[in-house]
Each structure stands twice: as structure tokens, then as C-alpha cells.
Symmetry: C2
Subunit: 376 residues, 2 copies
Amino acid sequence: MLSGAPSSTKSVNRGPGLTDVGVVGAGPVGLAIAWRCAQRGLRVSVYDDRPGSGASRVAAGMLAPVAEAYFGERELTGLLVESAARWPAFAAELAEASGVDLGHRTEGTLVVGLTADDLAEAGRLWSYQQGLGLPITPLRPSALRDREPALATRVRGGAVAPGDHQVDPRRLVAALRVAAERAGVTFRPTRVGTLSEVDARVTVVAAGCGAAALTGLPVRPVKGQVLRLRAPAGGPPGFRHVIRGYADGEPVYLVPRADGEVVVGATVEERADVEVTVGGVLRLLHAAAELVPELTEYALVEAVAGLRPGTPDNAPVIGALPGRPGMLAATGHHRHGIVLTPVTADLITELIVSGEPDPALAPFSPARFSKERPWN
Amino acid sequence: MLSGAPSSTKSVNRGPGLTDVGVVGAGPVGLAIAWRCAQRGLRVSVYDDRPGSGASRVAAGMLAPVAEAYFGERELTGLLVESAARWPAFAAELAEASGVDLGHRTEGTLVVGLTADDLAEAGRLWSYQQGLGLPITPLRPSALRDREPALATRVRGGAVAPGDHQVDPRRLVAALRVAAERAGVTFRPTRVGTLSEVDARVTVVAAGCGAAALTGLPVRPVKGQVLRLRAPAGGPPGFRHVIRGYADGEPVYLVPRADGEVVVGATVEERADVEVTVGGVLRLLHAAAELVPELTEYALVEAVAGLRPGTPDNAPVIGALPGRPGMLAATGHHRHGIVLTPVTADLITELIVSGEPDPALAPFSPARFSKERPWN
């Protein structure tokens, strides 16, 4: 199908007049793969008519391997922990390479419950996380409020996950574009309809929800509505930690940026439209204001919806497409695309350069869906 | 001060080479005055660098002399009733003259209360309105729901004001611009800093909140936040009446348009900024969804804030500026600018043409503020 495509992904060497790696999708994952490959001396083209316009534009940017460690997702949790561990060096290198401030913050995350029921629900989860040996520590209400006096007095309790950080996804995309360009990556502002349009030895499909149509992978859109607020008078928000909580059964997170922005998210809806609804906004604002009352005085500056690339087991799809030589997937990151960007880029780049998949990729191989749904 | 300005507003006749009437402000009031004056053969210029960008852009367009008849505002109520009575003919003439559909709807208004307390509050007001002889009729809950099945089952009761109609203010502005232009009005896309910049025999200040700086009148900004929703699937809203209600003490109105839009308003805040706040949006959406639950499925397409021109007695300022020959004011319409557009335009035009104020203008004369605050 591909002219000049190798029959396996083994050890791509530079040939004359041909792109080594074609990346479909200029979100954080695709851009980071392109940057890393270019750093290894490969000739890379990135195909996207609207870079950074997918799930990352809506994402909050929590780097939360602990607070996002859910029951029944141990392999995913392992990958989240691994990628989060790579984030500080990745952020430093990228900021240096691009000159762009990523808004990377390391104050950590508070997980809180508004009512006794909310606290019980949060507590069940952090007990599980502690059982995995992950760093999360319950706090007395007084200690919670010492850390963040902006929390409502009604908040019954919570815990701190000091290693769950944050980054600004829009700044991340901007930085990756600069770094990739400086490393020699070519940008092709075109929408890829079929993979035969990509003229490269290896093609990496990092197209988020678009991967389904391109590859037949079982990636489905999961709608999320997200709000952006701004603190009054040009000041910073009145809290510094990421705050994740339950308010009368409604999960919500609040991500404060140094520039005054607060991201409030997110709905999780099995829908493919990107409409902002009254119900979504109402639930998010209500829960947010219950946890941090001063937010009622903040400006509401943006309400948007995006589509996360979800998979049947909530884990990403990273690796070679079975039966399709020279074709790799790096998609299905669902709610974890930002935190998983460094490890995905590193593992895909290693696979391209060495021709051998890292054992860490085994649980995330596209082949795991082959029995259910053959590639067409 | 004005070159060629007459020493009174008496009977403006066309002179050579001079504009007869200069209108400052291209909102509905200013545009309607310009249109009416041009229809009388006067040469008219309208000054505004951003026509239709003031309070009217945010306004919902309720034509509600009855539901807006509040305690202690009998003279204002009289003017509202008079202007509302002129609306059907005004709308028909304007639609004909402009070819623009105004979105004028005559299904009437329901006034409802969610809780027993809300209903008691609404009931006190409509008893007062009935006492004035205004057309508002309490309905049994079953009759209320027969008229609008979309109302929440929790709604305790309400009344119907069949003569309280609506129009789309943005369409109104578009229509008035076309009609005024066709009638020969000249548009000057400039922002007037002082009235000496207006070269006309008579100057009409219809600049909304901007009138304060131009004239010294005690017109102050009263902030209002308003939301625009859209019914699902391109259909019309699931209700046809304007719904005004109280929901747990929160006043809110819902204005359904034939094109699928629903306007939800409005906060009333003594502030001069136009920031949309979390608290404002939350209160409006919460109250709206309590009264009409299906609204949670609607798209939230716009959240804006505007500044109404308020006055010390909540009534507009219409007439000659004392001590300033050739200067008229038509401002201070506060929450009533749309409904008061026809009567304001008619009375100001009559005053310009005849030189004599209609007795109906007496309570609204700018002179009523002279003792408190001399013109500077």
C-alpha cells in the first residue's frame, strides 16, 4: 500500500528522498513523537490541517497518576506513574528547546469531599491508591484548610497527592511545535483521509478520535465539557493546588494557573457532538462553587467541549498495527493524553529506531483488539 | 455652542446645507427617532461608531408593560402601556419598510412561582397589577401546564399576561437601520466625545449610558448578564410563551424565539463592568432549569453582559435639556428600552417638528433632575 514502506518497523535508516516518519495528528502525542524522532536524526513530517485543535485544546493538563489510579486499571496506572516520572525532565528540556513557558506547576493535588458521602467515596479510592503504594496522604480538615483557605468551610475532608502536578496543554502544544520545527520536522497542513496519502517509511497514527476511521481501531469519542474562568482584577487564583473533589456526588476538578486562569472540568459523556449544554455547565459551576465559593466572583471566559479518544479498556493503543507493516498507532489516550505524552513519545521513538517494542508496551498493543475486531 | 443652532427646539424647518437633526447613538431609540424624523421630511444624521452595540445587543426584547408594572412606578407604567399599545402597528410598519422579520411574537407571558414563597411574591405583584386594571389573570396549576407542558411539575402556580409580547432586539436594530437608511438618514460611524461635534439644528442624545458624560444627566450603568440558549436538533423551543418566574427567590425570565433561541436573563447589578461571572451564570441557569427542566438539554451558545442606562427614579429621560437650546435627551430607559422605543420616537419627533412637548412627557423631562444636579 505504501510506496517504499518497509515490511516491518525494524530499524528505519535514512534513505534518499523519502520521509522516514510520517505522523498523522499534531496534538501533544503526535508532536512529541515527531520531536523525539527528529532528535534521533530521522526525517519527520507531521500531517494536520488544524494542529492542537483536538482533545488537547480542551484538556486541563493534570499530571495525576495517583488521583487517576482507578480500580481495575493497574496496567494503565503503571504507565501513568512512569510517564509522570518523566514529566519534570521532559518539561525542562522542552522549555529549553522551545523557549516557551509550559505553565508546569508542582504544588500537588488536593482530593476533597464536600459531604460525608462524598468524603466516603473519595476515601475508598485513596485507600486503594495507598494500597498500591502511591503517594497520597489524608489530611485533617484543619490541615486541608491551612493548605488552601479558599476551600469551603463545608468541605468535610480530603487528602494530598504531592506528586500530581499540572501543565497548560495549549502552551504544551505551542512549545512542541516550536521544538519540533527547530529539530527539523516538516509540517504539512493537510487533513489525511486515508493512510495511503502518507508518503513515509513508517506512519504513526496519532490522530485521537480520528484514528478509528484511519485504522479501524475501536477508538470512540467521549465528550467532555470544560470551562475556563479568570480570577478577578488580573490576579492569580486564590488557590495553588489542583483541587479534585466530589460535591454532592458530582465529580469536578479545578486547575489554577499562574496567569489567573482556572480550568473547571469535566463532564464525561458517551456522545460525539461538541455542544456546550446548559446541564453540563450548570453541574460543573455548581460543584466548583460548592468547593471553592470565591469562584462565583470569577469571570467565565470560555465554555468548550471536546472529544477524548476512548477505548474499550480505557487504556491507550500504542504500537504496531498487526498485519499492516510500517504502521504504528499512538492513540486512545482518553483522559490521559497530556500525562502520557512523554512515555508515548519515548516508546514509539524507540520502537521506530530499534525495530523492537519495549516490553512496557505489551499491555497497550493494538493487537489486543484484534480478536474482537479485525482490521479492515 | 452649536453653529446655527436655534435658540429653542421650536419648529425645525429645513435650511440650506445643514442637518436638521443629529442623533447621538444608534440603538433602537436613536434609530427609531432618526427614522421617524426622516419620515417627516427632516434631514437626519446618526452618530455612532458601533451601532447596536449597547444595551440592546444584550436585551431580551420583552414588551411587558403589565409584568413590568412595579409598585411606586405608576407614571412609568402608563408610558409602558402606551408604548406597548403602539408596538403592533410599529412592528408591522417597520417590517414592511425594512423587509426584515423582527421576531415579533404575541403569545403572551406567563408569570410563575416555583415554591409557595415564590408564588406568594409573584401574587403580591399581580394583585397590584390587577388593581391598576392591567390584563393579568391567575391560572390554576392545571391550566398553567395546559398552556406550557414544559413547565416543571414543581411549579406551584402562575398567571397569564396575554398582552405582554416580545421582539428580537438584534433584528429590531437591523430593521431600523435599513428603514432609516431607506428614509434618507445619514450614518456617521464616529464616536461623539462632546456635543459640539454634532453639526445640526437639533441634537438628540440617545446614547444610553454614554448620555451621562455628554450631558451631565444622572444616568448610571446597571449591569445585566444574559444567556442565549439554543433548542436541540435545530428545532424551536419546547414552549411558546415568555416565562417570567421566581425560583427559590431568584427572578428569571425565559424568552423563546421561533428560530430556536431562548434568552435567559437577567442579573441586575450596580456595576459598570461587562464581565460574565460564574455567580451570574450559575444563578440564571439554575433558576431557568428549575422552571423548565428540558433547558438542561439546550446548548449554551452565548453569555454576555451589558449596561442598562438607569436613572434615580427608574424612569427614562425624554425631552429638552434645560438651559441648552436645541438639545434633547432620549435616554435612561433602563430595562425598558425596547418596549419604549415607539413612544419615545413618536414623542421626540413631535417635539422636534412642533416645538411643543406632549403633556405625556412631563413626568420624564430632564428638568426633573435639575434641582439635584445642575448641568455642567
